[in-house]
């Protein structure tokens, strides 16, 4: 479960996120939507522990800053950055050691699903953006996390990888993981989501459960809430 409690974040005098609270229950897929500059990235980075904020973020009831919380949590940033001098396989090895797990076989299985198995000896600075994104996904998921945070995960991926990622998200959900996806690509997540949080100007302007919206389209809800024209 992911709990965001009264999250507030300012950059100097600009209030980026204003007392935001929401929960994504265990085994559900949450999507975080909002126009550019709405505060999504700030929320994402706060959850990922990259920002200093006021309020509280709990991962499976543990404070997100706690080492125990970090063991359960995985983050796939929008723009991946690899270690230039590490090969793909060495990135997996490093994650294995950093999380003190022995999941190399699972990492290889994921690498095969993302067609990285024949590129394992390529160095970080030899990878295309799409390949970096695939490595980033494998590194995040190989630890078998309980809570996964995806920030624009489909960008740069080829159609096969997008399909694979969607399948993986559903598999993770079925295994009881909590997933949160921040994206602008509404089309890509319309079959995945269970809970929707819409942010604008640093505040939550709408929160929905899939079972409550009947046959409304995700785009319709989004544009209705943000006041934009379709």
């Amino acid at each position: 479960m992911l709990e965001i409690i009264d999250l507030t974040k300012s950059y100097k005098k600009t209030l980026a996120v204003d007392h935001v609270s929401f929960t994504i229950p265990t085994g559900r897929v949450g999507i975080l939507l909002g126009p550019n500059g709405a505060g999504k990235s700030t929320i994402i980075k706060s959850i990922a522990g990259l920002l200093f904020f006021s309020g509280k973020i709990n991962i499976d009831n543990i404070n997100s800053r706690d080492i125990e919380a970090k063991k359960r949590f995985a983050y796939i940033p929008e723009l991946p950055s690899m270690y230039d001098a590490l090969t793909i396989k060495e990135h997996f090895e490093f994650i294995n050691k950093a999380y003190n797990v022995d999941h190399m076989d699972y990492a290889m299985e994921l690498a095969t699903r993302f067609e990285l198995d024949d590129k394992l000896d390529k160095l970080g600075d030899e990878l295309s953006k799409g390949m970096m994104q695939k490595v980033s996904i494998v590194c995040a998921l190989m630890i078998k996390p309980k809570v996964v945070l995806f920030d624009e995960p489909m960008i740069g991926l080829d159609p096969k990888a997008i399909k694979e990622l969607k399948d993986l998200i559903l598999e993770l959900k079925n295994q009881g993981a909590t997933i949160i996806i921040s994206t602008h690509m509404l089309e890509m997540v319309k079959d995945l989501w269970d809970d929707m949080v819409i942010i604008d100007k640093g505040k939550i302007i709408g929160q929905y459960r899939k079972e409550d919206i009947e046959d409304q389209e995700i785009e319709d809800i989004f544009f209705k809430m943000t006041g934009d024209q379709q």
Partner: protein
């Protein structure tokens, strides 16, 4: 911990393997080793020349090193700067369940290890250059290689990542650091006024003992006094304070709360650093985030001409328009030459060659730096604009030629007046300057075009410098031959004709190559 050891080891091994496969990287490593050896040689020579090759000498040098480095470091650490994290650290390390303290230590080691190596060299130097006894050199080694890194680590951890520190504490640390520096300055002034009001005060001040009581900065210096100048009550007390301070800071660093609140500011610094590195790799000089003024431009032309007007607009938004470091450098060189020429006027046949020589030297020095043109080829529109390659090349580089003309005027006019050159001679020197700078620009275009893909940035810079040097050497040879066989005036004319011809040839070559240029990025 295992993960960080793995990361360090694997990165080192892979980089080494890569370097072994890349001769240019190996050459660069050898160059830096030779340069370091050369600097040690120069440094020891300077120590002898300035009569600092004694035990007092090493104390004097170390005092200034400490005063320059430690306060700067503290002021950086309180602003969460100075420790360089990579973008990949932000992606992978900051989310892992590795202790934020360990992550900080891991990156700090990258800064600490070179300083330990330098201290190791210095402790060898203490014996060979500064006439220390074996015992003194060993004690010095223990202090600077074993104890001081612990002190620095404790200090850094407490200032950078101690989450008990509030903004008020941070302000106090900042004010305290400046206060300590002010005390040092006041003490130096006291020595200058009351003890020795000559330059010798600079050497006398570091040997005084009272300032050893200043916390942190004075304490670090106390063991040097104790080891090299002999025990006194003050340096013994302050050395004990240094040792106790080290232990206390380490204990505090171990016990302090650190959950990773520093990640935010460390990330911002990492992003800025990564941007600067990217720019530096392209040869661009970074001045941090630039503020742009509001400006407008009237486009008096279409197609390739639009590139020129867009560049004018960009420059108009700059604080100093098209003027920059090279403008100041040129004016400075012109004024200095003018001053010295008035003091002692050089013979005209010699004076004629100083200015083109200086232009050549400047162009050689600046051959590694990016020009407006290098940014232009990163822009897809330079390729897409429906115009001929020649016009695109001309309008994209026109402003560079204008800048070279202004620099040439600023350098040649004052220097020419001082040297007593005639107006036609000055005009020839300005033409030579503009042509030499244009040669630099076109060599850049050609090198990037032909070998940009196969050579790395370092290799490309070295190649540009090599070709530039070659063109200049040929020019000098032509000038020397003309001077010997005909006259000095003809030699100057030969240089100018040569520069203009080479410049035009290179321009034609660049235009042809530009037609089949492929953007690297």
């Amino acid at each position: 911990m295992n993960a960080l050891i793995y990361l360090t080891k694997t990165t080192f091994v892979n980089k080494l393997k890569k370097a072994l496969h890349k001769p240019s990287a190996l050459l660069l490593i050898l160059f830096w080793i030779a340069y370091a050896a050369y600097m040690i040689f120069i440094f020891s020579g300077m120590a002898v020349n300035f009569k600092l090759d004694s035990k007092e000498g090493i104390v004097i040098i170390l005092t200034y090193v400490v005063l320059m480095s430690v306060p700067t470091n503290i002021l950086m650490y309180v602003r969460k700067k100075g420790i360089i994290f990579l973008m990949s650290d932000l992606h992978f390390l900051f989310n892992t369940p590795i202790s934020p303290k360990l992550i900080l230590l891991y990156r700090f080691m990258k800064l600490l290890i070179p300083s330990i190596i330098m201290n190791l060299v210095l402790s060898i130097g203490a014996f060979f250059i500064f006439k220390a006894t074996t015992l003194q050199a060993i004690l010095f080694f223990i202090v600077v290689v074993l104890i001081e890194p612990l002190f620095e680590t404790g200090l850094m951890m407490n200032v950078y990542a101690n989450e008990r520190l509030t903004q008020k504490h941070v302000d106090w640390i900042r004010k305290g650091t400046w206060g300590c520096l002010a005390i040092f300055a006041a003490y130096a002034l006291y020595v200058f006024i009351f003890i020795d009001n000559t330059f010798n005060a600079l050497a006398i001040f570091p040997l005084q003992e009272l300032f050893l009581f200043i916390p942190i900065f004075g304490w670090i210096l106390a063991p040097y006094h104790l080891i090299f100048l002999g025990a006194t009550p003050i340096n013994v007390i302050c050395s004990i304070l240094f040792a106790v301070g080290t232990i206390l800071m380490l204990i505090s660093a171990i016990k302090m709360p650190c959950t990773g609140k520093y990640y935010e500011e460390a990330s911002n610094y990492a992003k800025d650093y990564s941007e600067k590195r990217k720019k530096a790799k392209k040869g661009e000089v970074s001045f941090g985030k630039r503020k742009y003024k509001k400006a407008s431009v009237a486009y008096k032309g279409a197609y390739a001409k639009a590139i020129f007007y867009r560049q004018i607009l960009e420059y108009k938004k700059n604080r100093f328009f098209i003027f920059g470091g090279t403008t100041l450098l040129s004016l400075g060189a012109g004024l200095v030459l003018c001053y010295f020429s008035i003091q002692e006027r050089p013979p005209i046949e010699f004076a004629l060659f100083i200015l083109p020589g200086l232009s050549a030297y400047f162009s050689f020095l600046m051959s590694g730096y990016a020009t407006k043109w290098s940014k232009e080829i990163d822009n897809a529109y330079t390729f897409l604009i429906p115009d001929t390659a020649f016009r695109k090349m001309w309008y994209a580089t026109l402003i560079e030629h204008l800048r070279a003309l202004i620099d040439g005027l600023l350098m040649v006019i004052p220097a020419g007046i001082g040297m007593g050159l005639s107006i036609p001679q000055m005009i020839l020197c300005i033409v030579a300057h503009v042509s030499i700078m244009a040669i630099k620009l076109y060599i850049q275009v050609i090198c990037q075009n032909i070998l940009g893909k196969s050579l790395g940035n370092t290799g490309l810079t070295l190649l540009k410098m090599l070709i530039q040097g070659l063109v200049l050497v040929i020019g000098i040879m032509i000038a020397v031959m003309a001077a010997i066989m005909i006259s000095n005036e003809m030699a100057l004319l030969a240089i100018i004709v040569y520069s203009v011809v080479i410049c035009l040839l290179l321009m034609l070559c660049s235009t042809r190559l530009f037609e089949r240029y492929e953007s690297i990025d």
